[in-house]
Symmetry: C2
DNA sequence: TCTCGACATGTCGAGTTTGATATGTCACAC
DNA sequence: GTGTGACATATCAAACTCGACATGTCGAGA
């Protein structure tokens, strides 16, 4: 079985190994961590994909069962083989550039299809969303600094800062874009320009 | 046929309509535009997916054949129905937050799995990559400003600026992260910490 | 005791996406 | 004239992913 995932080879498995390296967890637990942390801006997966992948990884010896608890809970832990595989993957430069999917960014790409007022609505929505995320992550980073007693907040602090930089950039871009559109009475498609259906 | 794509409903079709709105083009042409422009940070698609989707869209009347040229070239154009569909999609708030896939960002998330020196290698690689992209996009933006005679560079200028903001944020974050790791002799996993395989 | 909601895992059909493979045209250089 | 590389479209098996459905446990509070 070749186990080649199309989006950046085997990203899901390394995400899981990495999550387990941080701390052991069950499939349920990992599914929630995906949703809350990784899913927001790095990768996305559902439990229906996570459970089979965990069994696969266990079969390959990259993770192991740490504990079988109540309610059928199976807690996994990363093995040294898993860590070695993850490190090898991280050090190898990405096979393919691109391979990105981000619906939110795609929408921003297509803004030219809207009229001026509509574009402003979408841009304001973008600005608000980014600002909210920024506040959220800033708090989280402060907690990480306290928790680790380090300025960087440890490895998770690095991640949080990445998010902070990204969302700040988006919010700043949105404010710039709003100003540009507001200053340009001709921005966007006129309804007049719409071509007839055929 | 329900035509529900899992990653953000029907993102591919709207990306294609949007690309055709900018200017008509053939499947081959759109495949290249995907690779060069959209694929880099918004969405990704191959010709083997693009050709069938174009036929589907034509069947639904959202795009139409503009011209049949040499070498079997079929140039498509967006119809008013297609534009209306695109606008409706853009104005409807995204069904699902998240749904993001970005292998590059995922790698950054997993940096904690590396030792100090290895993490620095990856971070420096990240910083260089982002800086290169930044230079590239800055040039492109200047050309768009010239071309459109507008400060914003038109809708494509907005897109280019988004990229500029994003890559600048990544480069700045990488420099910050490098400084943090360099200042912290204890960063990263010690080989000693690696657990035995079982 | 019973019910509700969070915990926890599992399955599968339907649909999506890839990478490989195939076919052929055209322009240009050698 | 013939080889090379860009142009241009097509197909399909294999693999991946989703959403929906299914099953059951456990603790807390009514």
């Amino acid at each position: 079985m070749s186990r080649l995932s199309y989006y950046g080879d085997m990203a899901l498995r390394y995400a899981l190994i990495g999550l387990l390296l941080d701390r052991p967890g069950s499939g349920y637990d990992l599914a929630r961590r995906f949703e809350e942390v990784v899913g927001a801006y790095a990768w996305d997966a559902r439990h229906s994909q996570i459970y089979p992948e965990l069994r696969q990884l266990e079969g390959e010896g990259l993770i192991e069962v740490a504990e079988r608890g109540a309610r059928g809970r199976t807690t996994y832990r990363c093995t040294s083989e898993g860590l070695a595989a993850l490190r090898a993957w991280l050090m190898a430069p990405p096979a393919r550039p691109g391979g990105v999917r981000n619906e939110h960014v795609l929408r921003l790409f297509l803004l030219g299809a809207l009229g001026r007022e509509e574009a402003l609505v979408v841009l304001r929505r973008t600005e608000e969303g980014a600002t909210t995320q920024l506040e959220h992550l800033t708090e989280q980073f402060a907690r990480l600094q306290e928790g680790t007693g380090s300025d960087s907040g440890g490895p998770l602090g690095l991640t949080a800062q990445y998010g902070i930089h990204s969302y700040r950039a988006t919010a700043e871009w949105a404010r710039w874009a709003i100003a540009q559109v507001e200053a340009d009475p001709d921005f966007g498609l006129r309804d007049v320009e719409v071509r007839s259906g055929h």
